[in-house]
Symmetry: C2
Subunit: 628 residues, 2 copies
């Protein structure tokens, strides 16, 4: 698959954009006209820069308001085109995008437009150039690729072809199967963009909200499959207008774009069995979270040990060569790393005590690792002692580690090789069974990056975005989960540091892991057991319980129990949900205990009450409220 991206998709000045595009691994680049016009240098210089970076200039765009112009505008329009042809020849690209006319001066008529394109094709042919026609979703007369194709067909000129753009077709819900009958050589280039499903004016939506394939909600893969079915083997090129991307990191957005195309190519390869040069193992099926590892030092480890004991964990094993302890309860494994050298120590030195790594158990760790690398994930390796396991690992949110383990390296075996069991008094556990979910907090403008990362590598889907109301601002929450519920990661995007989430990432960040939710099969028994161990549950306002009783029509006895134990309650069409929180540890890390009685959500409607309680608990006397 040949990959390309339009310069308009990323921030920066033209040379900076080209460098980032090359570095991200694209084969080609579309030069967006304004980027060229603002550049203080000849077209030939732009061409040279691109070629020096190994980039083909796939397209010069856009050329607007061309077809169907009445005289005398018509001849001026052709003159304009000739000027653009001059630039293209100097740039070193043979293809220009003509988008459908939106001018109020334009006249309609398929044959008129076809005849204009035939003439333009003649002129282009004289210079060895080609013209591609694209239907804008809001074009005055032509707003459907089927009509654009009919014009191209009637123009009947080898130098005139069709340009398809997934946004323009999918935003209008045009059947993508209409693409399958187009001869592949008549499709000059294919542009791709996704977008979140928000019902709004098409032009406004397109100009501000487009995003990378897989980052939005449009069926871009089905679109690309229809294109591939024609036999098309040209460039797939991203053309993304997005306010956030325009202000974001040039390199990071370019990297996301490349990942999105590779993932799309993988989807297309799989569903169409087309050979488009993308070959990697399938998405990794996650069995669960193998372990979560904290980086800390000897002193702070004492406090963490106390907290874990209060949660019913017991120290089960110690590492044979490193200062790492393994705590266990049910299927939950927590590693506490106080090794005074190495990556964990470096992470601790920067961020203080935090959960810097997690292990995801998958069907085939080696295959998952290969897939992750094919999708531009950053590998991580560190020295291990002789005979110890080198577990494949990649960098996740904030540079935190994600270890990949499988049945060939299950945690049991891994424990046996690297860890030695310890005997200690067993005070009995608190009924915690599994990690229900891991909650990661990150800057809002990194949400799309990591949602794409998880969904492209692991067999997961993302849930719709939910707004969490923090007294300091809105936090956007979205979940990556799989069908079985064995992998659930909630992602919270913070826009300012006055929110609890924003404070956490400003002060801590690291892996972004802000809380761990453990499951129990009996929330009340667990609450009692925790209480007896000295665990202090987060105090929830009594006002909450009066409302929850009335809202759900709860038995007053149940709501009294909930209130007594500070348990939050929610219900969906599948069942009930119970949530119990710890207070915060450090700059906002906390634990949650949940019981699901069929419920499938994450208690989003309770978040406002949990946040208010956490903020109240965190606020030291005398510290101004908006510092938290």
């Amino acid at each position: 698959m040949k990959t390309s991206i339009a310069t308009v998709s990323i921030s920066g000045e033209l040379p900076e954009k080209l460098e980032a595009i090359a570095k991200a691994g694209f084969d080609g680049v579309e030069i967006f006209e304004n980027d060229f016009l603002a550049f203080d240098g000849r077209p030939s210089e732009v061409g040279r820069m691109a070629r020096d970076l190994g980039l083909e200039i796939t397209l010069f765009q856009p050329f607007r308001d061309f077809e169907g112009m009445p005289k005398p505008l018509r001849s001026r329009t052709f003159d304009r085109a000739e000027r653009k042809f001059d630039i293209m020849q100097e740039l070193g690209t043979d293809l220009v995008l003509v988008c459908s006319n939106v001018s109020s001066a334009a006249l309609g008529g398929i044959d008129r437009a076809a005849s204009d394109f035939h003439e333009l094709g003649e002129r282009a042919a004289k210079r060895g150039l080609r013209v591609g026609y694209e239907a804008l979703a809001w074009g005055r007369f032509i707003s459907d690729h089927r009509d654009a194709w009919e014009i191209v067909r009637r123009a009947n000129h080898p130098n005139v072809g069709l340009i398809l753009d997934s946004f323009h077709s999918l935003s209008r819900k045009i059947d993508v199967n209409s693409i399958r009958s187009i001869p592949p050589e008549r499709i000059f280039i294919v542009q791709l963009a996704d977008a979140p499903l928000i019902d709004m004016d098409l032009l406004y939506w397109s100009r501000h909200f487009r995003n990378m394939p897989g980052e939005g909600d449009l069926p871009v893969a089905a679109f690309a499959e229809a294109v591939a079915a024609t036999g098309y083997d040209g460039y797939f090129s991203l053309e993304i207008f997005n306010d956030q991307f325009r202000g974001g990191s040039t390199r990071a957005i370019a990297a996301d774009g490349h990942r999105s195309l590779i993932y799309l190519g993988d989807q297309v390869s799989r569903s169409t069995r087309a050979t488009i040069g993308i070959d990697m193992p399938p998405r990794a099926s996650a069995q669960g979270v193998g372990f979560v590892e904290f980086a800390t030092d000897e002193d702070e480890a004492v406090e963490l040990d106390g907290l874990l004991n209060a949660l019913g964990f017991r120290k089960a094993a110690v590492h044979r060569s490193k200062k790492v302890n393994l705590y266990q309860q049910g299927e939950i494994r927590i590693l506490v790393n106080v090794e005074p050298v190495g990556f964990a120590y470096a992470a601790y030195a920067v961020h203080g005590t935090f959960a810097y790594a997690m292990a995801l158990a998958v069907d085939d760790a080696a295959a998952a690792y290969r897939r992750a690398l094919a999708l531009d994930a950053e590998p991580f390796r560190q020295p291990v002692a002789d005979g110890e396991l080198q577990i494949p690992a990649i960098r996740g949110v904030g540079g935190g580690l994600i270890y990949l383990i499988d049945h060939k390296s299950p945690l049991g075996q891994f424990s046996n090789i690297d860890f030695e069991a310890v005997d200690g008094e067993d005070a009995g556990d608190a009924g915690l069974k599994r990690i229900d979910h891991i909650a990661q907090t990150l800057a809002y403008d990194e949400m799309l990056t990591w949602l794409l990362f998880y969904t492209a590598i692991f067999e997961t889907r993302k849930t719709p975005m939910v707004d969490i109301i923090d007294p300091g601002g809105v936090v956007r929450s979205q979940v990556v989960e799989n069908d079985t519920g064995s992998l659930r990661i909630t992602m919270n995007g913070a826009e300012n540091r006055r929110t609890l989430a924003g404070h956490f990432i400003a002060e801590k960040f690291g892996s972004g892991i802000q809380h761990l939710a453990f499951s129990t099969d009996d929330i009340f028994a667990t609450a009692k057991s925790l209480r007896e161990r000295g665990f202090k549950a987060l105090h929830i306002s009594p006002n909450y319980y009066d409302d929850v009783e009335a809202r759900f029509g709860l038995d007053p006895h149940l709501s009294e129990q909930l209130k007594a134990e500070n348990i939050l309650y929610d219900r969906d069409e599948h069942g009930e949900y119970f949530q119990l929180y710890s207070g915060t540890y450090g700059e906002g890390f906390f634990f949650e205990i949940v019981e699901r009685r069929g419920y499938r959500g994450y208690g989003a409607s309770n978040a406002i009450f949990r946040i208010a309680a956490l903020k109240k608990q965190m606020r030291p006397e005398g510290v101004p409220k908006d510092a938290i």
Copy 2:
């Protein structure tokens, strides 16, 4: 006019919200239920806090999914209502908002709903409470205030009334005159919200984009006038859901809300001659910019003097008691203040050399000042020497000063009293006539504040928002202008510091004045004259001129002239526009010279090229690009 605001409209925790609302000058507050539920204290405590701050609790809201429920849900719904009545009595408010049912379980039927409300009215009456019914724009059966009113009419109970909300009525384009026939005593409260005109899903629009009356594009004044025409004399209450406000400054957003209501009251008073207790002078008619004043020190003043000379200004007068020089050209007056004490010095000490003040010439400065203060503007006074003028002044963007002057204190007279003319060689001017516009840069989330400030105090309007594409991100631009063009202020809202605008406010800010645009009647003569004085025009990419020639079909001779002088060109349906820029001074301040041949805009489509050129010029060798 009695003013109120819902707690949901601003950020913060409940006590913080109440304090900010009281401080902003509101008479009352609506308690949004979630703010109460998250608060860890009794309803009576909330009531006491509000009363201690002098706030009446005008409403408890919302109560959802009430009317038209089938059995057995119906009786549970009434039970829920009784629980809310308990809270209301303890809070100390007699009014609850019931919004139209959105539940899929609800049954339709006007009479069924009316009968439910009659029963609820009976129950409320027993406790001395009242129930207000509001039609949500997306209600399942009731989405129009006319239908809600019919239900209230048929409920036929003195404790059941109507609640009107401008957003719900105006978003559906319901004729506001339908309000005029409603008896005022049946309207229990009126909620107000504006919104920008963006065509999108009503619920999404309402939940994220509402803003204060006058900050958006809806005809909220016409709505309020229709309400006032009924004889309604109750609360006008703001209910604003806005993502930006939720993350913004609690106090600043509350203050904006209060200003918006006072301004709305003023509009209603004027158009309906209703006595609603708002009385202030009319909006001030601006004649032009009297002067712009720079704060600097003796050393930097030398550089500024050189720049002003190169622009054709001459030093015309010196202040009698302060170290302030007056430079003049045409009607343009620039003051340069190097006084080593006082406000200007303090501003200079913080921000360095910058334009910290401007004087707006109005019809009646004293009246404009009274109006500004009535609209919560912050007054500014500083000591003057005996016999000198105390010019009324208010604080504008970033705390910068806006002096108000008029024919009783014109700059001529002001100059004569406070200034002494100096004789110097007159090298002739460069043809600069007037200040065409002043450009202020500010953080994007302060845009609405200052647009409201200007349009409420001065007889101006705001233009639609335009996106300016900076290589570092999108800058939102909107203009405040009057009919004659004598006052034009362009406002640029920056979202990050990687843009030229964002860099300027991060490094400089102060008054936010980032550039001054002077007008000439002959741009080419002025360009030549400036060149001869040693003025260095900002170099524009030659690529721009090839495009502009083709795009507008310019005579090649003209485009050659433009290119030779680095003049940018634009055209609208009214005429032509020519723009010439200086390089940047310090952290991004610059001058612009424009010639308007009938043109009414501001050359927004040229901004991308101007910004690229300014950034290129600012970038010292070796400094990474994204530091600029």
